[in-house]
Structures are given as C-alpha cells and as structure tokens.
Amino acid sequence: MNNERLNYGDRIIYMEGVVVDVDDCSISVDLKGRLGFFKAPKRMFICDTEPKVGQEFGWNMSFPEQLGPEINEHYVSNIEKERRKQQEMSKRLDNKEV
C-alpha cells in the first residue's frame, strides 16, 4: 500500500457528521450534507466525554480513489459466501419466529 498511488491524496477536506448509533463496539455517523454514512470501531474515535447519539464529530478526509480496474476474486468470493450465509441464517431465523 502506497499513498503515492493516489492522485488527489493531498486534497484534504474538513468534514462533519452526526452520531446516529452507539453500541458497545462501534459508532455510526451520518455525514452532514447527505454525503453518506459510516460505522467504525470505537477505538478509532477520540472522545472527551461519553459518545452519544446526536453528538457532532469532525474530521479531515480526502476522496477515496480507485486503485485500479481489477476485481479481486478472493474478496468477491468472501462477500458472496458471507451474503449466502446471512441469507440462509436469516431465513432460518424467520422460520423460527413463525
């Protein structure tokens, strides 16, 4: 991994977002301005007080850039397996509930 592969890596923008969910492990943030959503481990957030829904966070970020057109089959296969498993399992869950 080399950030030399980025063409616009130095375009750093200040971003803000609103906390929409906090669990024991992660914090979910809606990016202001309808720019998306992200969820990241708690350890990657710096908090002076207990993180709570509705609080605002700020950070610097840049644009994610495509590193190439290649499709990594291993990731695809993992994602596929994951998706199938989740489907199967939630089907079982639905049956149980019925």
Binding site: M1, D24, C25, K42, F45, I46, Q87, L93
Partner: protein, 618 residues
C-alpha cells in the same frame, strides 16, 4: 509562532528562521524565531530553504542588518554579531534510532552499553565511539588506546559491579503432554497421544448460555489448513492447574500440538469481531508461529459459535461466546488433571527471579477496554479460563499488578477481537516475549507486570494513566516498558502512560504497532524510546492474524533500548516518515554489541499469496 527562551535552548543547534517580519536593526531574540519542529514540512513542500541557515544559538543576540519577511532563514549576510557555534557539537547521534515515527513527538532508540559489550562514548571534540567486546579485554585482543579523559566516562558506563543475591520469588512448572490426533467419540478422554472429544458436547455449549443459538465443532488438521473460516476471535492454549496449584505457581499441565480456536457469527450471519476480519482460508490468513497464533503443524479444535441476532456488537455477545466455548476446554482440562505422569514429554521450569542491585524494570501492558470485543478477562482460576476472572471493563480499566509467572500461566483471557494483525490473543500472553526476555535477562530486575485497560473516554484514559504513574513511582523502578495492542484512541493513553512514568524520571520504552497506519495520534517529550512491532512489508494492518504483534525480536530491541536509556544515553530521533531500515540498523547494532544473532521472524510474504493480497497490498 514565536518560541520561548526555553525552546530556543532546547533547539540551540537547529536552524534559525524568523517567525514574522522583522525590521533591520533589531536584536534577535527567541521571540523573533519560528519553532524548528515545523520545518520538516515546510522544507518538504518547498516553502523553506535552509541552505546556509545559521543555528539558533549563533543568531541570538545578533543584530539584523536587513529587513526580512516572516519565515526568512537567518544567514550570515543579514546579521551582524553572529556568535560562534558552541564547542560541543551535538552529542554524537546514537547508533540506534527510534523506530516508530510519531507525528507529534519524536522517538528514538539507542541500544548498547549492555550485554557483553563495554561501550565508551566520547562526546567532546572529535567524537569517538569505541566498542570493545568485554571478553576481548581479558583475552588480550587489540584494545584501542583510550584518551585519559574518556576513561572516567567509561567507568560510569560500565555495568554496576555491585550485584545482590539473586532471589527466586516463584516457580512455575509446565508439564507438556503431546497430542498427535484429535477425534470425536463417546466420551472426552486422552489415550496416549490421542485426544477424543465427546460427541454431542455441542448441545452443552448451546445450553450453557442463553445467547448462544448454535455451535459447530471442527477438527482442523494440517491437511485441512486450506479451509474457509470465519473471523478468528481467539487462539488459546489448552492448559490446567495440577492439584491445588494456583495460577502463576505450582504445576500447569499443557497439551502440545493442539490449540483451541474460536470463531463466531450472530444469527444474521454477521461476524463477531470488530471490523477488521481475517475470514478466508486459514493458511492464507494466519501468521504461523507468532506468540498469539497457532504454530504450523498444530491441530485446531475450532468452534464456530452462533449468538443471538445483533448481539455481536454488544458486550454480552462475545462474552457469551467465550464463556460457552470454555465448556469444551474445561472438559478437556478435567481429563488432563487425571493424566498419568508417564505421558509427560517435556517439563519446563519457569522461574521468577528478582535481582537486587540490577536495574529494576516494570512492564506495563495496555489492553483494550473500550467495551464489547475490546475487553479482557483477568485472572481466571484455570489458565486462559473463564471461571473466577474479572472483566477488565468491569474493573474500570484500572491498573492490575500481576507477577510475570501469572502472565505466562494465562492470566489473560483475551476477548479482544480488534484488527487481526495487531491484536494480542490469549495465547500471546501465554508466550509473551517481552516478559520472557526480561525475566531471563541477568542485567535487569523485572519486578512485575501491570495490566491497564484503555477506556473510551479521554477523561477516563487520563484517570487510569495517572494511576499507572503513581504505581510505577511506588515501585521505585529504574525503567519501564509500556506496550499496547492494536491502534487508535488507545494511543492516547499509551502516550499518557509514558508521560506519567517519564515525568517521574523513569526512562520508558514504548512498544506498539505504528508504521504507516498506526502512526501515533499524540506524542510528548517523554516518548523518546519507541519500538515498532510492525512486521508487514508495507507497514499496514494487512488482515493477517498476529502479523504485527510483539515478537522476541521486538523484545530484544526494547530491552537494549531501555538499558541504553537507563544508562543515560541519548537516542536518535525517529525519522519523519516510517522507515523500516531503522529497525534493521538497530538489530545489526545489537547483534554487534552482544555478539549474538537475532533471528527475525518472517511476515505475510511467506504465506501462500492470496489473490486479494496480491492486488490489494503489493
């Protein structure tokens, strides 16, 4: 921004650059100068050219002869009354540079003056470094002539001669039993080297915890290493205490050739385990032989637990998974307790030795404590067990002091399921390299290990790190190690621990995965001695289990660095950007000084290259 007289003194040999526009005729004071710590960036971006620039000590008190703009480097042609540079050139840069570049503060590593090496450093004038193998002194080998003035310094650097009596404060015996085959059968038993696990034990695991909805047990033999697996949550040794022995003392029985491996998902099929995951083919995702990982050739008793939907991100989810999985381990432990002595293949005696008169050191291990899979069970009754243990988060993340033998006897049951490459699994503590290295080093007196959690909130982080500072002060330690796993906001308390210990005058070596992605969030002036645990080629979290965890080679470097720090030697500051060569240079220096060979562990490059890594990371 202008600097103070104090900063000017600290940076006496750094370039002098005006912080703001200055009129001709003024006398240069610290308030006219810019802070040299920002120059690297300015030079990199081409905004500043330091060619011919004088140093701060040269320009202070001189008269400016020409009006200059801000950020103008001060050169001889715009000043009148420049002082001569001080005689002592900055003390010779130490041989070992710090390894973990830190954005805010510097670090550096200097080994030496330890082991079988007598090192003499002469700072004045011509800067001469001499390294003479101690053995060679007696053997009449060529000895360089040492200027008289340097001899006194050499005496000071020589290892303290007064040595107290060594005292054994505890022993732990590990009896090893070999297992070559694991199979299923009507009852759990061990016959010879064959471990049989009761069929239907799965039902007991499921019944044990309300949150556990399903469970599957797999036996992974080396032929099956190329099997797809969910995220590995933990790798644990199978060990039990013999008779009335308590954890950290007496006798522990352990099975060789087999480990417990826990994986899990919730009912919706979502992985338990933070975000970074190591799902995929086992042989492509495990860094074999790391302290926390399986060794190649071992059999895995692999359990896949399914917990109630959506509890994977709550504390109770991972806790239930670990607790239920321990049902199987406990059943094996009960069988092990009854094993015949004749099956013991190896007996290992671990001794906790105190060495009065030697430099007293303490190891502070920071463990995750932000919640859920950022938690650890501390001090169970059985090695890496559940019963009797207290969760680090429930203890408020405060420091808990344990003996080195308790660490090696599995006093930590790690729930931590953070980024795979840098997390310390339960087995890591069982084979903790720094504890082993410090325990066996005859030049230091390891007084104990302090575990401290990393809370989420800054106020709590500083609360616990102040406790760490006071604890180390009470110990009257001469030196300390602070280690941490993973990266992220735990680096805030990691830095704070080092500050709290450092401000008490105790040199502190920090150890963490840093490199590229884990670059430190904060720094302070006490973070001068840093060892980077990175092993990955690119310096990143590369999803390979255990890749960037603390290994023996890191422990050796940290010890050498701490000894140098305790001997009062300067350490070269880290380079601005991560540079893996610093580590190799340090290793070479240590090898030269000790006359030993340090075997470096491999990294992901030696695993079968998965397509994903080839495309993603190469």
């Amino acid at each position: 921004m202008s600097i103070t007289a104090e900063t000017a003194k600290a940076h006496a040999h750094d370039p002098a650059v005006l912080c703001c526009r200055a009129e001709a005729g003024i006398t240069i004071e610290p308030a006219n100068l810019e802070d040299p710590s920002i120059f690297d960036d300015l030079v990199d971006s081409g905004l500043l050219n330091l060619d011919g620039c004088l140093t701060i000590e040269e320009v202070l008190g001189a008269k400016l002869t020409k009006t200059c703009d801000s950020l103008a480097p001060l050169t001889a042609d715009v000043l009148d009354g420049v002082k001569a540079p001080s005689v002592s050139a900055p003390a010779v840069e130490e041989e070992v540079a710090q390894e973990a570049p830190d954005q805010a503060a510097p670090t550096a590593a200097v080994p030496v003056a330890a082991g079988g090496m007598l090192k003499i450093h002469i700072g004045e004038g011509k800067d001469i470094d001499l390294q003479i193998p101690v053995g060679a002194l007696g053997g009449g080998a060529a000895v360089a002539e040492v200027p008289a003035a340097a001899v006194a310094a050499a005496d000071a650097a020589a290892p303290a001669a007064a040595v107290g009596e060594e005292r054994i404060v505890g022993t732990l015996t590990r009896k090893h039993f070999n297992i070559t085959e694991v199979k299923r059968g009507p009852e759990t038993k061990i016959e010879g080297t064959v471990l049989t696990i009761r069929e239907g034990i799965e039902a007991d695991v499921i019944a044990d915890q309300e949150l556990v909805k399903d469970f599957k047990l797999e036996i992974i033999t080396p032929e099956l290493y190329h099997t797809y697996s969910e995220t590995v949550m933990d790798v644990q040794p199978i060990a039990t205490k013999e008779g009335d022995s308590e954890l950290g003392s007496g006798v522990t029985r352990v099975l060789d050739g087999v480990v417990m491996m826990l994986t899990g998902v919730d009912e919706g099929g979502v992985q338990i385990g933070e975000f970074g995951s190591s799902e995929g083919y086992l042989d492509e995702n495990i860094m074999w032989g790391r302290p926390g990982c399986p060794d190649k050739g071992e059999i895995f008793i692999k359990g896949n637990i399914v917990i109630q939907e959506k509890t994977n991100m709550e504390r109770r989810g991972p806790m239930a998974a670990h607790t239920a999985f321990d049902i199987i381990t406990q059943e094996i432990r009960e069988v092990m307790k009854k094993l015949d002595e004749s099956l013991v293949v190896d007996t290992q005696e671990l001794k906790s030795i105190r060495r009065p008169g030697k430099k007293k050191v303490v190891i502070v291990k920071e463990i995750m404590g932000q919640g859920a899979m950022h938690d650890n069970f501390i001090l169970p009754v059985e090695p890496v067990g559940i019963l009797g243990a207290r969760a680090n988060v429930d203890l408020g993340n405060v420091p808990v002091c344990v003996s080195p033998l308790e660490v090696l006897d599995g006093c930590i049951h790690a729930l931590t399921c953070i980024g795979p490459a840098s997390k310390e699994m339960s087995r890591h503590y069982w084979r903790e390299p720094l504890v082993l290295e410090a325990l066996h080093d005859e030049e230091v007196d390891l007084c104990g290990v302090i575990f401290v959690g990393s809370p989420q909130i800054n106020a709590e982080k500083f609360y616990v790190s102040r406790r760490v500072g006071h604890t180390v002060e009470m110990l009257d330690a001469d030196g300390a190690f602070v280690t941490t796993e993973g990266f992220g906001n735990n680096h805030i308390d990691f830095a704070s621990h080092i500050e709290q210990i450092g401000m008490r005058g105790v040199p502190t070596v920090g150890m963490s995965y840093c490199a590229v992605q884990g670059a430190l969030v904060v720094g302070n002036k006490y973070m001068q001695y840093m060892v980077d645990n990175n092993k990955s080629e690119a310096g990143i979290e590369n999803e390979i289990l255990g890749n960037n965890t603390l290994c023996p080679e890191d422990a050796v470097r940290a010890l050498a660095m701490l000894k140098a720090a305790m001997a009062g030697e300067d350490v070269k500051a880290a380079e601005k950007k991560w540079n893996p060569n610093v580590k190799s240079t340090n290793v070479e220096l240590i090898e030269g000084a000790y006359g030993t060979k340090i075997d470096l562990v491999g990294n992901e490059q030696e695993l079968p290259m998965s397509e994903k890594r080839r495309l993603k990371y190469s």
